[in-house]
Symmetry: C2
Subunit: 337 residues, 2 copies
């Protein structure tokens, strides 16, 4: 398996990306292709114990910045790292692409270069949200907004197949993110989507999920519009950071006994942090395009990158793409019939 890594994408690129890729090459059974400024990448690799690893470099002279218009930048910067990396997947020389750069650019590159799977109106980003017993897959978490009900149903089918073949959950519990449990609750989008999900035989639809069900893990897959998903995802990140900051602040201002307590409790708090750390997952698959594409957080460090590459390896091994192609092509045929 060969994975194309956008070495220039992310706040700490290329250093943390290269370090994460090296860690992943040691840990997972995969070959890594780093795409970006060859000189910079080689300089980073030089400092790593990487000579014996299956890592190669493909030069790309341009970078798409966080504030560029995604589709426009993908069209004009033909030699940007994300475009070249995505093209390697298109050409079949790599099995997947990972980028921690501009999410918009990664989505645009995937759409324009890999194209959508037949039967998919809009691709969706499926973010694994930590729960006490594992994760809830929330999609779409920001690829598209103002999605039509049929797009949400396609997301549900894709998310369910991902949970099944990558997480190994036999009949993933699929929920529709809504503001009440009853079928009649919600905005127009949710009210129109509910009966479609109920009628969809490809999934195990378990009704509406409320906001609280996401962190509690009451569903394996939660479906929502990309606007709502993105707000929730960023809210969760902000809240986690805020709580950690407050804990530090309270301990700093506390007495000696409390400081001793914090010290003794540290391994426990660390273990808890690990259970809640999005970096343990690090990457979110973009479902619905003809190729495995995984998106990382802009602030990804080496650890997040390594675990995101782990997500990518699992994604490829799960052969989810074939499953999605099958299910949605058949669904499209039967919907038209």
């Amino acid at each position: 398996m060969r994975i194309a890594i956008d070495a220039m994408g992310g706040d700490f690129a290329p250093r943390e990306i290269v370090q994460g890729a090296v860690a992943a090459a040691k840990k997972y059974d995969c070959e890594i292709v780093l795409i970006g400024d060859e000189k910079q990448i080689r300089a980073e690799l030089h400092g790593e114990d990487a000579a014996a690893l299956r890592i190669s470099v493909v030069h790309a002279s341009e970078v798409i910045g966080m504030n560029e218009h995604p589709a426009e930048a993908v069209r004009t910067k033909k030699d940007s790292s994300i475009v070249v990396a995505t093209r390697l997947v298109r050409e079949g020389s790599c099995d997947a692409v990972f980028s921690a750069g501009s999410t918009g650019a990664a989505v645009a590159a995937a759409q324009l270069i890999l194209h959508r799977i037949r039967g998919v109106g809009r691709p969706a980003i499926a973010t694994p949200m930590p729960t006490p017993d594992g994760v809830t897959l929330m999609l779409d978490s920001g690829a598209n907004v103002d999605s039509r009900p049929e797009h949400l149903v396609q997301s549900a089918v894709m998310g369910s197949l991902y949970a099944q073949h990558v997480f190994g959950i036999e009949r993933p519990r699929v929920g529709l993110l809504n503001i009440g449990e009853e079928e009649t609750k919600g905005n127009e989008q949710a009210k129109e989507t509910y009966p479609l999900l109920k009628a969809e035989h490809n999934i195990n639809f378990c009704g509406n999920a409320e906001g609280r069900d996401v962190p509690k893990g009451n569903f394996d897959v939660v479906i929502c519009d990309g606007f709502v998903g993105n707000v929730v995802l960023k809210f969760a990140e902000g809240l986690a950071k805020t709580i950690l900051g407050l804990i530090r602040e309270e301990i700093r201002g506390a007495g000696l006994m409390a400081k001793l307590g914090a010290l003794l409790l540290m391994p426990t708090l660390r273990r808890l942090g690990k259970r809640l750390d999005v970096r343990e997952y690090g990457g979110a698959p973009l479902l619905g395009v003809n190729g495995c594409c995984v998106i990382g957080h802009g602030s990804s460090d080496a650890k997040s990158v390594a675990s995101a590459i782990g997500v990518t390896v699992d994604y490829v091994n799960g052969k989810v793409l074939d499953q999605i192609r099958d299910a949605l092509a058949k669904k499209g045929d039967s919907d038209r019939a």
Copy 2:
């Protein structure tokens, strides 16, 4: 000041409601009117040290349950506690109403009995979300969905006036909840609302707020559709509960040293919990109706009820209603001109 309390609303009514009301009557300069089943309320009062307090009881023979259709129930159950309580405000015998019962019923009663303020298309629930330095007021958090851009602008004006006159913030920073900082980002609703907020001279509009800005406290007032706000609010509640549960679980499974650490750190963790506890605020004002109406969480205990009554007292004292009436009537006139 007299406050009407729906004594039958909430998961732990009437006990926790009555206990909270007693605590509030001791703490705040207000008279309390408890509305509901007189026998039950008197029985609860009997156990409390309430004889010297300014607490009276108004009998109401019916209760609106959590699963009833709000508007229908309000129309048919004329003698339900929330309807009678809201009517006391309408008649001028009380200055405000508080309920921890069905949010839908409280909103419907307020709309049908108190009516909307002229210039307000849709009322909005303004929930104070805890931040490191205080709160961010998030509205609408669930009164309405699929709001039009002008409704969000009205919410912005109302939320800003509330933050100014109740929280004492001179020029509240108002943000539009969105999925990116740039003006061009977002769904249709957000893209149409942005320029209207920018042009609104009644507020200090500071641009788009992302999900992470809410817990970080980067804005004083964050405006969103009730669908998004409700999902975020319930997500926050669920996450907070999940984290607390995990801390307990980790400590239970930890070694003796960690247990000792937890013990020593307990006062610090409690202080932190207090800073993040929504119960410290307990109540969310429903803005946009002709009367002060405050809504509490269904799971409110006596502590939440007492602090929600504190919110209600502040709301009345802030004379926000007059401010809102003035601003929106003038705005309506100038919008029409």
